[in-house]
Protein backbone atom coordinates (compact mmCIF):
# COMPACT_ATOMS: atom_id res chain seq x y z
CA UNK A 1 0.00 0.00 0.00
CA UNK A 2 2.83 2.34 0.88
CA UNK A 3 4.52 1.71 -2.42
CA UNK A 4 1.26 2.53 -4.21
CA UNK A 5 1.18 5.84 -2.36
CA UNK A 6 4.68 6.54 -3.60
CA UNK A 7 3.66 5.73 -7.15
CA UNK A 8 0.81 8.21 -6.76
CA UNK A 9 3.27 10.82 -5.50
CA UNK A 10 5.42 10.17 -8.56
CA UNK A 11 2.51 10.52 -10.95
CA UNK A 12 1.30 13.67 -9.29
CA UNK A 13 4.78 15.21 -9.41
CA UNK A 14 5.03 14.40 -13.11
CA UNK A 15 1.94 16.58 -13.61
CA UNK A 16 2.82 19.18 -11.02
CA UNK A 17 6.41 19.83 -12.11
CA UNK A 18 5.28 20.94 -15.54
CA UNK A 19 5.27 24.66 -15.99
CA UNK A 20 1.84 24.42 -17.58
CA UNK A 21 0.35 22.70 -14.54
CA UNK A 22 -1.68 25.68 -13.34
CA UNK A 23 -2.98 26.70 -16.75
CA UNK A 24 -6.18 24.58 -16.69
CA UNK A 25 -7.02 25.81 -13.17
CA UNK A 26 -6.40 29.39 -14.22
CA UNK A 27 -8.55 28.99 -17.34
CA UNK A 28 -11.43 27.52 -15.33
CA UNK A 29 -11.21 30.23 -12.67
CA UNK A 30 -11.04 32.96 -15.31
CA UNK A 31 -14.03 31.46 -17.09
CA UNK A 32 -16.09 31.40 -13.90
CA UNK A 33 -15.15 34.97 -13.03
CA UNK A 34 -15.99 36.12 -16.55
CA UNK A 35 -19.44 34.53 -16.38
CA UNK A 36 -20.07 36.13 -12.99
CA UNK A 37 -19.13 39.45 -14.52
CA UNK A 38 -21.42 38.87 -17.51
CA UNK A 39 -24.38 37.90 -15.34
CA UNK A 40 -23.84 40.85 -13.08
CA UNK A 41 -23.54 43.35 -15.89
CA UNK A 42 -26.56 41.93 -17.73
CA UNK A 43 -28.54 42.15 -14.53
CA UNK A 44 -29.35 38.48 -14.56
CA UNK A 45 -29.97 38.51 -10.85
CA UNK A 46 -32.60 41.19 -10.80
CA UNK A 47 -35.26 39.12 -9.16
CA UNK A 48 -32.75 37.87 -6.59
CA UNK A 49 -33.04 34.43 -8.15
CA UNK A 50 -29.34 33.65 -8.11
CA UNK A 51 -27.12 32.86 -5.20
CA UNK A 52 -23.50 31.73 -4.92
CA UNK A 53 -24.66 28.13 -4.51
CA UNK A 54 -27.25 28.31 -7.23
CA UNK A 55 -24.67 29.80 -9.56
CA UNK A 56 -22.00 27.20 -8.84
CA UNK A 57 -24.50 24.38 -9.27
CA UNK A 58 -25.41 25.89 -12.62
CA UNK A 59 -21.71 25.86 -13.59
CA UNK A 60 -21.76 22.06 -13.65
CA UNK A 61 -24.29 21.90 -16.46
CA UNK A 62 -22.76 19.37 -18.80
CA UNK A 63 -23.66 21.35 -21.88
CA UNK A 64 -22.26 24.62 -20.64
CA UNK A 65 -19.27 25.28 -18.47
CA UNK A 66 -19.38 21.68 -17.33
CA UNK A 67 -18.36 20.64 -20.81
CA UNK A 68 -15.32 22.86 -20.59
CA UNK A 69 -14.47 21.16 -17.34
CA UNK A 70 -14.82 17.74 -18.97
CA UNK A 71 -12.54 18.82 -21.80
CA UNK A 72 -9.89 19.97 -19.34
CA UNK A 73 -10.05 16.62 -17.58
CA UNK A 74 -9.76 14.81 -20.92
CA UNK A 75 -6.72 16.86 -21.89
CA UNK A 76 -5.14 16.14 -18.53
CA UNK A 77 -5.71 12.40 -18.59
CA UNK A 78 -4.93 11.64 -22.23
CA UNK A 79 -1.21 12.24 -21.79
CA UNK A 80 -0.61 10.43 -18.56
CA UNK A 81 0.46 7.21 -20.25
CA UNK A 82 0.95 8.43 -23.82
CA UNK A 83 3.57 10.94 -22.71
CA UNK A 84 5.64 8.18 -21.13
CA UNK A 85 5.71 6.50 -24.51
CA UNK A 86 6.53 9.64 -26.47
CA UNK A 87 9.23 10.74 -24.02
CA UNK A 88 10.65 7.21 -23.91
CA UNK A 89 10.50 7.21 -20.11
CA UNK A 90 8.21 4.18 -20.19
CA UNK A 91 11.30 1.97 -20.51
CA UNK A 92 12.79 3.13 -17.23
CA UNK A 93 9.39 3.12 -15.56
CA UNK A 94 8.73 -0.54 -16.31
CA UNK A 95 12.06 -1.99 -15.22
CA UNK A 96 11.72 -0.94 -11.60
CA UNK A 97 10.35 -3.89 -9.67
CA UNK A 98 6.79 -2.60 -9.80
CA UNK A 99 4.16 -4.58 -11.63
CA UNK A 100 2.61 -3.07 -14.70
CA UNK A 101 -0.91 -3.27 -13.26
CA UNK A 102 0.16 -1.30 -10.23
CA UNK A 103 1.78 1.36 -12.37
CA UNK A 104 -1.28 1.70 -14.58
CA UNK A 105 -3.57 1.75 -11.54
CA UNK A 106 -1.55 4.59 -10.03
CA UNK A 107 -1.96 6.50 -13.28
CA UNK A 108 -5.71 5.93 -13.35
CA UNK A 109 -6.14 7.03 -9.75
CA UNK A 110 -4.05 10.10 -10.54
CA UNK A 111 -6.31 11.18 -13.40
CA UNK A 112 -9.34 10.68 -11.15
CA UNK A 113 -7.72 12.88 -8.51
CA UNK A 114 -6.70 15.42 -11.10
CA UNK A 115 -10.27 15.62 -12.44
CA UNK A 116 -11.50 16.01 -8.88
CA UNK A 117 -9.21 18.98 -8.25
CA UNK A 118 -10.49 20.61 -11.44
CA UNK A 119 -14.08 20.17 -10.20
CA UNK A 120 -13.25 21.46 -6.73
CA UNK A 121 -11.50 24.56 -8.04
CA UNK A 122 -14.49 25.31 -10.24
CA UNK A 123 -16.85 24.72 -7.32
CA UNK A 124 -14.98 26.92 -4.87
CA UNK A 125 -14.35 29.75 -7.29
CA UNK A 126 -18.00 29.50 -8.32
CA UNK A 127 -19.28 29.67 -4.75
CA UNK A 128 -16.88 32.43 -3.74
CA UNK A 129 -17.30 34.65 -6.80
CA UNK A 130 -21.00 33.88 -7.17
CA UNK A 131 -21.55 34.52 -3.48
CA UNK A 132 -19.69 37.79 -3.62
CA UNK A 133 -21.72 38.92 -6.61
CA UNK A 134 -25.16 37.55 -5.84
CA UNK A 135 -25.08 36.86 -2.12
CA UNK A 136 -25.91 33.59 -0.41
CA UNK A 137 -29.62 34.05 0.06
CA UNK A 138 -30.54 31.29 -2.34
CA UNK A 139 -33.95 30.43 -3.62
CA UNK A 140 -33.70 26.67 -3.65
CA UNK A 141 -30.17 25.43 -3.96
CA UNK A 142 -27.93 25.50 -0.92
CA UNK A 143 -24.42 24.23 -0.38
CA UNK A 144 -25.67 20.64 -0.52
CA UNK A 145 -27.26 21.31 -3.89
CA UNK A 146 -24.04 22.78 -5.23
CA UNK A 147 -22.06 19.79 -3.95
CA UNK A 148 -24.58 17.39 -5.46
CA UNK A 149 -24.35 19.09 -8.84
CA UNK A 150 -20.55 18.93 -8.70
CA UNK A 151 -20.65 15.29 -7.60
CA UNK A 152 -23.00 14.25 -10.38
CA UNK A 153 -20.88 16.07 -12.90
CA UNK A 154 -17.81 14.36 -11.47
CA UNK A 155 -19.41 10.98 -12.14
CA UNK A 156 -20.14 12.12 -15.69
CA UNK A 157 -16.54 13.24 -16.06
CA UNK A 158 -15.20 9.92 -14.78
CA UNK A 159 -16.96 8.20 -17.67
CA UNK A 160 -15.14 10.32 -20.24
CA UNK A 161 -11.86 10.38 -18.37
CA UNK A 162 -11.95 6.58 -18.30
CA UNK A 163 -12.71 6.43 -22.03
CA UNK A 164 -9.83 8.81 -22.70
CA UNK A 165 -7.57 6.79 -20.42
CA UNK A 166 -8.36 3.65 -22.41
CA UNK A 167 -7.73 5.55 -25.65
CA UNK A 168 -4.38 6.70 -24.29
CA UNK A 169 -3.42 3.11 -23.49
CA UNK A 170 -4.56 1.85 -26.89
CA UNK A 171 -3.22 4.61 -29.15
CA UNK A 172 -0.17 5.68 -27.09
CA UNK A 173 -0.85 9.14 -28.51
CA UNK A 174 -2.02 12.04 -26.38
CA UNK A 175 -3.25 14.03 -29.38
CA UNK A 176 -5.37 11.25 -30.80
CA UNK A 177 -6.85 10.45 -27.39
CA UNK A 178 -7.79 14.06 -26.74
CA UNK A 179 -9.33 14.38 -30.20
CA UNK A 180 -11.36 11.20 -30.03
CA UNK A 181 -12.31 11.80 -26.39
CA UNK A 182 -13.68 15.27 -27.11
CA UNK A 183 -15.47 14.06 -30.20
CA UNK A 184 -17.26 11.41 -28.15
CA UNK A 185 -18.35 14.06 -25.65
CA UNK A 186 -19.77 16.19 -28.46
CA UNK A 187 -21.42 13.25 -30.23
CA UNK A 188 -22.98 11.85 -27.08
CA UNK A 189 -26.26 13.75 -27.24
CA UNK A 190 -26.64 13.22 -30.95
CA UNK A 191 -26.04 9.49 -30.72
CA UNK A 192 -28.58 9.07 -27.95
CA UNK A 193 -31.16 11.07 -29.91
CA UNK A 194 -30.58 9.23 -33.16
CA UNK A 195 -30.79 5.84 -31.54
CA UNK A 196 -33.53 6.70 -29.08
CA UNK A 197 -36.19 4.77 -30.98
CA UNK A 198 -34.30 1.51 -30.56
CA UNK A 199 -34.75 -0.46 -27.39
CA UNK A 200 -31.04 -1.09 -26.92
CA UNK A 201 -30.45 2.61 -26.18
CA UNK A 202 -31.34 1.60 -22.68
CA UNK A 203 -28.04 -0.24 -22.50
CA UNK A 204 -25.87 2.46 -24.02
CA UNK A 205 -23.38 4.15 -21.76
CA UNK A 206 -24.14 7.63 -23.11
CA UNK A 207 -27.79 7.37 -22.16
CA UNK A 208 -26.78 7.07 -18.54
CA UNK A 209 -23.61 9.13 -18.26
CA UNK A 210 -25.49 12.22 -17.12
CA UNK A 211 -27.11 11.40 -13.80
CA UNK A 212 -28.39 14.92 -13.20
CA UNK A 213 -31.78 13.85 -14.57
CA UNK A 214 -32.37 11.99 -11.32
CA UNK A 215 -31.76 15.13 -9.33
CA UNK A 216 -34.81 17.24 -8.57
CA UNK A 217 -37.09 14.56 -10.02
CA UNK A 218 -36.25 15.12 -13.69
CA UNK A 219 -37.32 12.74 -16.42
CA UNK A 220 -35.13 9.70 -16.89
CA UNK A 221 -33.34 9.33 -20.25
CA UNK A 222 -35.42 6.30 -21.21
CA UNK A 223 -38.86 5.52 -19.86
CA UNK A 224 -38.79 3.45 -16.72
CA UNK A 225 -35.05 3.61 -16.10
CA UNK A 226 -34.00 4.03 -12.48
CA UNK A 227 -30.90 5.46 -10.82
CA UNK A 228 -29.57 2.04 -9.72
CA UNK A 229 -29.98 0.77 -13.28
CA UNK A 230 -28.07 3.76 -14.66
CA UNK A 231 -25.31 3.28 -12.11
CA UNK A 232 -25.18 -0.42 -13.01
CA UNK A 233 -24.78 0.34 -16.71
CA UNK A 234 -22.04 2.89 -16.02
CA UNK A 235 -20.27 0.45 -13.73
CA UNK A 236 -20.30 -2.36 -16.29
CA UNK A 237 -18.97 -0.13 -19.08
CA UNK A 238 -16.21 1.34 -16.93
CA UNK A 239 -15.20 -2.11 -15.76
CA UNK A 240 -14.96 -3.19 -19.40
CA UNK A 241 -12.90 -0.14 -20.39
CA UNK A 242 -10.54 -0.53 -17.47
CA UNK A 243 -10.24 -4.27 -18.09
CA UNK A 244 -9.30 -3.60 -21.70
CA UNK A 245 -6.77 -0.97 -20.60
CA UNK A 246 -5.07 -3.23 -18.09
CA UNK A 247 -4.98 -6.30 -20.32
CA UNK A 248 -3.54 -4.28 -23.21
CA UNK A 249 -0.96 -2.61 -21.05
CA UNK A 250 0.15 -5.80 -19.35
CA UNK A 251 0.65 -7.61 -22.63
CA UNK A 252 2.25 -4.80 -24.54
CA UNK A 253 5.75 -5.21 -25.94
CA UNK A 254 7.53 -1.94 -25.30
CA UNK A 255 9.83 -1.51 -28.25
Amino acid sequence: MRSFGKLLTNEWLKLYKKRSFFVPYAVLAAMVLFIVYLFKSMGANEGGMLSGYEFSAWLFNKNGTGQMLTFMAIIGSAGILAKEHSLGTIKLLLIRGQGRSKILASKYVTVLLYSLTLSLVTLFVGIAAGGAAFGFQGVETGLVGALAAAGIHYAYMIVYVTITFLLGVLTRSAGASIGIGMMIVLMEGLVVQLLSRYAFTKYLLFTHADLSVYLNGGTPPVQGVTLPFSLGVIFVYLALFLGASFVTFKKRDVA
Partner: protein, 319 residues
Amino acid sequence: MNERRLADNETAVLSVDGVSKIIRNRRIVDRLSFELYPGEIVGLLGPNGAGKTTTIRMIVGLISMSEGDVRVKEKSIRRDFAKAIAHIGGIIENPEFYPYMTGYDNLKQYQRMTEGITEERIQTVTRLVGLEGAMNKRVKAYSLGMRQRLGIAQALLHEPSILILDEPTNGLDPAGIREMRDYLKKIAAEEGISILVSSHLLSEMELMCSRVVVIQEGRFVTERALGSAADVDNAGRVQVIFRVNDALKAQARLARMEEITILRVSEEQRQVAVAVRDAYIPRVVGALGAEGIELYRIEEIKESLEDEFLKWTGGNRIA
Protein backbone atom coordinates in the same frame (compact mmCIF):
# COMPACT_ATOMS: atom_id res chain seq x y z
CA MET B 1 37.70 -22.00 -23.21
CA ASN B 2 37.74 -19.58 -20.29
CA GLU B 3 34.03 -19.17 -19.85
CA ARG B 4 33.51 -22.83 -19.15
CA ARG B 5 36.05 -22.74 -16.40
CA LEU B 6 34.04 -19.95 -14.81
CA ALA B 7 30.90 -21.98 -15.16
CA ASP B 8 32.33 -24.75 -13.07
CA ASN B 9 33.00 -22.91 -9.87
CA GLU B 10 30.58 -20.00 -9.84
CA THR B 11 26.87 -19.68 -10.29
CA ALA B 12 25.55 -17.37 -12.95
CA VAL B 13 23.88 -14.15 -11.81
CA LEU B 14 21.95 -14.03 -15.05
CA SER B 15 21.04 -16.95 -17.22
CA VAL B 16 19.25 -16.62 -20.51
CA ASP B 17 17.76 -20.00 -21.13
CA GLY B 18 16.53 -20.97 -24.57
CA VAL B 19 14.80 -17.66 -25.14
CA SER B 20 12.90 -17.03 -28.38
CA LYS B 21 10.83 -14.21 -29.72
CA ILE B 22 8.46 -15.14 -32.48
CA ILE B 23 6.59 -12.42 -34.31
CA ARG B 24 4.29 -13.53 -37.12
CA ASN B 25 6.03 -16.89 -37.44
CA ARG B 26 9.41 -15.22 -37.77
CA ARG B 27 11.98 -16.01 -35.16
CA ILE B 28 13.54 -12.67 -34.25
CA VAL B 29 15.45 -14.39 -31.48
CA ASP B 30 15.88 -18.13 -31.72
CA ARG B 31 16.50 -20.30 -28.65
CA LEU B 32 19.26 -18.07 -27.36
CA SER B 33 21.14 -19.12 -24.24
CA PHE B 34 24.04 -17.56 -22.42
CA GLU B 35 25.08 -16.72 -18.91
CA LEU B 36 26.60 -13.89 -16.98
CA TYR B 37 28.88 -14.49 -13.99
CA PRO B 38 29.71 -12.19 -11.09
CA GLY B 39 32.03 -9.31 -11.89
CA GLU B 40 32.15 -9.94 -15.63
CA ILE B 41 31.68 -7.39 -18.37
CA VAL B 42 30.11 -9.30 -21.23
CA GLY B 43 29.39 -7.94 -24.66
CA LEU B 44 26.38 -9.03 -26.66
CA LEU B 45 27.74 -8.61 -30.13
CA GLY B 46 26.07 -8.88 -33.49
CA PRO B 47 25.41 -7.00 -36.69
CA ASN B 48 22.43 -4.68 -36.93
CA GLY B 49 19.19 -6.60 -36.81
CA ALA B 50 20.73 -9.61 -35.11
CA GLY B 51 18.26 -9.38 -32.25
CA LYS B 52 20.43 -7.73 -29.62
CA THR B 53 17.88 -5.12 -28.62
CA THR B 54 15.05 -7.64 -28.62
CA THR B 55 17.10 -9.96 -26.42
CA ILE B 56 17.92 -7.20 -23.96
CA ARG B 57 14.33 -6.06 -23.81
CA MET B 58 13.21 -9.59 -23.10
CA ILE B 59 15.75 -9.85 -20.29
CA VAL B 60 14.35 -6.73 -18.61
CA GLY B 61 10.75 -7.72 -19.30
CA LEU B 62 9.84 -4.90 -21.69
CA ILE B 63 9.09 -7.47 -24.37
CA SER B 64 7.46 -10.79 -23.62
CA MET B 65 9.29 -14.03 -24.38
CA SER B 66 7.69 -16.52 -26.76
CA GLU B 67 9.79 -19.38 -25.43
CA GLY B 68 12.32 -19.96 -22.70
CA ASP B 69 13.00 -17.94 -19.59
CA VAL B 70 15.50 -15.56 -18.07
CA ARG B 71 16.62 -16.11 -14.50
CA VAL B 72 18.22 -13.39 -12.43
CA LYS B 73 19.79 -14.79 -9.29
CA GLU B 74 17.49 -17.79 -9.62
CA LYS B 75 14.38 -15.60 -9.93
CA SER B 76 12.37 -15.96 -13.10
CA ILE B 77 11.61 -12.84 -15.11
CA ARG B 78 8.47 -14.55 -16.32
CA ARG B 79 7.01 -15.71 -13.05
CA ASP B 80 8.67 -13.53 -10.43
CA PHE B 81 9.23 -10.30 -12.33
CA ALA B 82 9.36 -7.80 -9.48
CA LYS B 83 11.92 -9.80 -7.51
CA ALA B 84 14.01 -10.66 -10.56
CA ILE B 85 14.11 -7.15 -11.99
CA ALA B 86 15.13 -5.73 -8.62
CA HIS B 87 18.63 -7.11 -9.24
CA ILE B 88 18.91 -5.38 -12.60
CA GLY B 89 19.78 -1.82 -13.43
CA GLY B 90 19.19 -0.91 -17.03
CA ILE B 91 19.82 1.68 -19.65
CA ILE B 92 17.83 0.86 -22.72
CA GLU B 93 19.20 2.85 -25.64
CA ASN B 94 19.56 6.50 -24.77
CA PRO B 95 18.23 7.01 -21.29
CA GLU B 96 15.15 9.22 -21.39
CA PHE B 97 14.08 11.38 -18.50
CA TYR B 98 11.33 13.84 -17.71
CA PRO B 99 12.91 16.86 -19.35
CA TYR B 100 10.99 19.43 -17.33
CA MET B 101 12.27 18.02 -14.05
CA THR B 102 15.72 18.45 -12.56
CA GLY B 103 18.21 15.60 -12.49
CA TYR B 104 17.59 15.27 -8.79
CA ASP B 105 13.80 15.12 -9.21
CA ASN B 106 14.22 12.43 -11.83
CA LEU B 107 16.35 10.32 -9.50
CA LYS B 108 13.78 10.87 -6.73
CA GLN B 109 11.16 9.37 -9.03
CA TYR B 110 13.14 6.16 -9.22
CA GLN B 111 13.99 6.27 -5.54
CA ARG B 112 10.28 6.15 -4.71
CA MET B 113 9.80 3.09 -6.89
CA THR B 114 12.14 0.85 -4.88
CA GLU B 115 12.08 0.33 -1.12
CA GLY B 116 15.08 1.32 0.90
CA ILE B 117 17.02 3.74 -1.29
CA THR B 118 18.45 6.36 1.03
CA GLU B 119 19.19 9.99 0.34
CA GLU B 120 22.88 9.17 0.79
CA ARG B 121 22.64 6.61 -1.97
CA ILE B 122 21.41 9.33 -4.34
CA GLN B 123 24.39 11.47 -3.34
CA THR B 124 26.76 8.52 -3.78
CA VAL B 125 25.68 7.65 -7.31
CA THR B 126 25.61 11.33 -8.25
CA ARG B 127 29.20 11.65 -7.14
CA LEU B 128 30.17 8.42 -8.86
CA VAL B 129 29.04 9.74 -12.23
CA GLY B 130 30.26 13.25 -11.49
CA LEU B 131 26.95 15.08 -11.79
CA GLU B 132 26.99 16.89 -8.43
CA GLY B 133 26.99 20.29 -10.10
CA ALA B 134 24.10 19.55 -12.44
CA MET B 135 21.55 17.95 -10.15
CA ASN B 136 19.45 21.08 -9.81
CA LYS B 137 19.33 21.78 -13.51
CA ARG B 138 16.43 20.65 -15.61
CA VAL B 139 17.27 17.59 -17.69
CA LYS B 140 16.32 19.37 -20.91
CA ALA B 141 19.43 21.51 -20.42
CA TYR B 142 21.64 18.42 -20.20
CA SER B 143 24.00 17.35 -22.98
CA LEU B 144 23.71 13.80 -24.30
CA GLY B 145 26.79 12.86 -22.30
CA MET B 146 25.24 14.19 -19.10
CA ARG B 147 22.03 12.32 -19.81
CA GLN B 148 24.05 9.14 -20.25
CA ARG B 149 25.67 9.74 -16.89
CA LEU B 150 22.31 10.38 -15.27
CA GLY B 151 21.25 7.14 -16.97
CA ILE B 152 24.02 5.27 -15.22
CA ALA B 153 23.11 6.96 -11.95
CA GLN B 154 19.48 5.83 -12.16
CA ALA B 155 20.55 2.32 -13.12
CA LEU B 156 22.83 2.07 -10.07
CA LEU B 157 20.41 3.64 -7.64
CA HIS B 158 18.95 0.44 -6.23
CA GLU B 159 22.36 -1.28 -5.97
CA PRO B 160 21.71 -3.92 -8.60
CA SER B 161 23.99 -6.90 -9.09
CA ILE B 162 23.66 -6.65 -12.85
CA LEU B 163 23.82 -3.66 -15.14
CA ILE B 164 22.31 -4.08 -18.58
CA LEU B 165 23.02 -1.54 -21.28
CA ASP B 166 21.62 -1.51 -24.77
CA GLU B 167 23.91 0.28 -27.21
CA PRO B 168 25.06 2.66 -24.49
CA THR B 169 27.37 4.65 -26.72
CA ASN B 170 24.88 5.30 -29.53
CA GLY B 171 25.05 8.92 -30.52
CA LEU B 172 28.00 9.76 -28.30
CA ASP B 173 31.11 11.42 -29.67
CA PRO B 174 34.49 9.68 -29.23
CA ALA B 175 35.20 11.53 -26.01
CA GLY B 176 31.78 10.58 -24.70
CA ILE B 177 32.30 6.95 -25.68
CA ARG B 178 35.57 6.88 -23.83
CA GLU B 179 34.05 8.51 -20.80
CA MET B 180 31.21 5.98 -20.80
CA ARG B 181 33.66 3.12 -21.05
CA ASP B 182 35.72 4.45 -18.18
CA TYR B 183 32.63 4.82 -16.03
CA LEU B 184 31.52 1.28 -16.72
CA LYS B 185 34.92 -0.16 -15.88
CA LYS B 186 35.07 1.94 -12.75
CA ILE B 187 31.62 0.80 -11.71
CA ALA B 188 32.37 -2.85 -12.37
CA ALA B 189 35.47 -2.51 -10.21
CA GLU B 190 34.03 -0.30 -7.45
CA GLU B 191 30.55 -1.71 -7.16
CA GLY B 192 31.58 -5.24 -8.10
CA ILE B 193 28.67 -5.83 -10.41
CA SER B 194 28.30 -7.75 -13.65
CA ILE B 195 27.63 -5.81 -16.81
CA LEU B 196 25.97 -6.90 -20.02
CA VAL B 197 26.44 -4.50 -22.92
CA SER B 198 25.06 -4.85 -26.40
CA SER B 199 26.81 -3.27 -29.31
CA HIS B 200 27.66 -3.70 -32.93
CA LEU B 201 30.91 -1.84 -32.39
CA LEU B 202 33.57 -4.43 -32.01
CA SER B 203 36.42 -2.11 -31.18
CA GLU B 204 34.46 -0.89 -28.20
CA MET B 205 33.83 -4.39 -26.95
CA GLU B 206 37.51 -5.27 -27.20
CA LEU B 207 38.38 -2.37 -24.93
CA MET B 208 35.77 -3.08 -22.34
CA CYS B 209 34.59 -6.67 -22.18
CA SER B 210 36.12 -9.77 -20.70
CA ARG B 211 33.92 -11.95 -22.90
CA VAL B 212 31.68 -11.56 -25.92
CA VAL B 213 28.61 -13.51 -26.92
CA VAL B 214 28.13 -13.27 -30.66
CA ILE B 215 24.68 -13.60 -32.14
CA GLN B 216 23.40 -13.36 -35.65
CA GLU B 217 19.86 -13.54 -36.98
CA GLY B 218 18.71 -14.20 -33.48
CA ARG B 219 20.91 -17.23 -33.01
CA PHE B 220 23.90 -17.89 -30.84
CA VAL B 221 27.02 -18.00 -33.00
CA THR B 222 29.91 -18.23 -30.57
CA GLU B 223 31.25 -16.85 -27.37
CA ARG B 224 34.80 -16.14 -26.50
CA ALA B 225 37.00 -14.60 -23.92
CA LEU B 226 38.83 -11.40 -24.77
CA GLY B 227 41.88 -9.70 -23.48
CA SER B 228 45.56 -10.57 -23.18
CA ALA B 229 44.91 -14.18 -22.26
CA ALA B 230 43.04 -14.87 -25.44
CA ASP B 231 45.98 -16.17 -27.46
CA VAL B 232 47.33 -18.49 -24.82
CA ASP B 233 44.77 -20.88 -23.37
CA ASN B 234 44.64 -21.90 -19.75
CA ALA B 235 47.08 -24.78 -20.22
CA GLY B 236 49.56 -22.24 -21.59
CA ARG B 237 49.27 -23.47 -25.13
CA VAL B 238 49.42 -21.46 -28.30
CA GLN B 239 47.74 -22.25 -31.56
CA VAL B 240 50.01 -22.81 -34.53
CA ILE B 241 49.64 -23.98 -38.10
CA PHE B 242 52.14 -26.36 -39.66
CA ARG B 243 52.33 -26.24 -43.45
CA VAL B 244 53.60 -29.61 -44.61
CA ASN B 245 53.71 -31.69 -47.79
CA ASP B 246 51.24 -34.27 -46.53
CA ALA B 247 48.66 -33.07 -44.04
CA LEU B 248 47.14 -36.48 -43.35
CA LYS B 249 50.46 -38.09 -42.67
CA ALA B 250 51.38 -35.23 -40.37
CA GLN B 251 48.05 -35.56 -38.61
CA ALA B 252 48.63 -39.26 -38.04
CA ARG B 253 52.05 -38.59 -36.56
CA LEU B 254 50.94 -35.68 -34.38
CA ALA B 255 47.95 -37.58 -33.07
CA ARG B 256 50.36 -39.93 -31.30
CA MET B 257 51.87 -37.06 -29.34
CA GLU B 258 50.06 -36.54 -26.07
CA GLU B 259 50.87 -32.89 -25.59
CA ILE B 260 49.20 -31.85 -28.78
CA THR B 261 45.60 -31.13 -29.58
CA ILE B 262 44.81 -31.12 -33.25
CA LEU B 263 42.39 -28.29 -34.03
CA ARG B 264 41.77 -28.81 -37.70
CA VAL B 265 43.34 -30.39 -40.75
CA SER B 266 43.08 -28.96 -44.21
CA GLU B 267 44.19 -31.43 -46.85
CA GLU B 268 44.02 -29.06 -49.78
CA GLN B 269 46.03 -26.35 -48.11
CA ARG B 270 48.27 -29.02 -46.62
CA GLN B 271 47.92 -27.50 -43.17
CA VAL B 272 47.52 -28.89 -39.68
CA ALA B 273 46.44 -26.51 -36.93
CA VAL B 274 47.31 -27.58 -33.42
CA ALA B 275 47.35 -26.27 -29.88
CA VAL B 276 50.68 -26.90 -28.25
CA ARG B 277 52.98 -25.42 -25.62
CA ASP B 278 55.77 -23.23 -26.90
CA ALA B 279 58.42 -25.43 -25.33
CA TYR B 280 57.11 -28.45 -27.18
CA ILE B 281 57.34 -27.07 -30.69
CA PRO B 282 60.98 -28.10 -31.37
CA ARG B 283 60.04 -31.67 -30.54
CA VAL B 284 57.12 -31.49 -32.97
CA VAL B 285 59.49 -30.29 -35.65
CA GLY B 286 61.87 -33.13 -34.85
CA ALA B 287 59.11 -35.69 -34.93
CA LEU B 288 57.84 -34.50 -38.28
CA GLY B 289 61.39 -34.57 -39.68
CA ALA B 290 61.99 -38.07 -38.39
CA GLU B 291 58.83 -39.24 -40.12
CA GLY B 292 60.05 -37.79 -43.41
CA ILE B 293 57.34 -35.12 -43.51
CA GLU B 294 58.54 -31.94 -45.13
CA LEU B 295 57.85 -28.84 -43.10
CA TYR B 296 57.45 -25.58 -44.98
CA ARG B 297 56.15 -23.13 -42.49
CA ILE B 298 55.10 -22.69 -38.86
CA GLU B 299 52.67 -19.87 -38.17
CA GLU B 300 51.00 -18.68 -35.04
CA ILE B 301 47.25 -18.28 -35.42
CA LYS B 302 46.61 -14.74 -34.35
CA GLU B 303 43.40 -13.59 -35.83
CA SER B 304 42.27 -10.22 -34.73
CA LEU B 305 38.87 -10.20 -33.15
CA GLU B 306 37.59 -8.24 -36.07
CA ASP B 307 38.58 -10.97 -38.53
CA GLU B 308 36.83 -13.48 -36.39
CA PHE B 309 33.79 -11.31 -36.04
CA LEU B 310 33.56 -10.94 -39.78
CA LYS B 311 33.93 -14.67 -40.15
CA TRP B 312 31.22 -15.36 -37.57
CA THR B 313 28.74 -12.93 -38.90
CA GLY B 314 29.31 -13.06 -42.60
CA GLY B 315 31.28 -9.90 -43.17
CA ASN B 316 29.50 -7.17 -45.02
CA ARG B 317 26.53 -7.05 -42.72
CA ILE B 318 28.23 -5.05 -40.04
CA ALA B 319 27.20 -1.46 -39.79
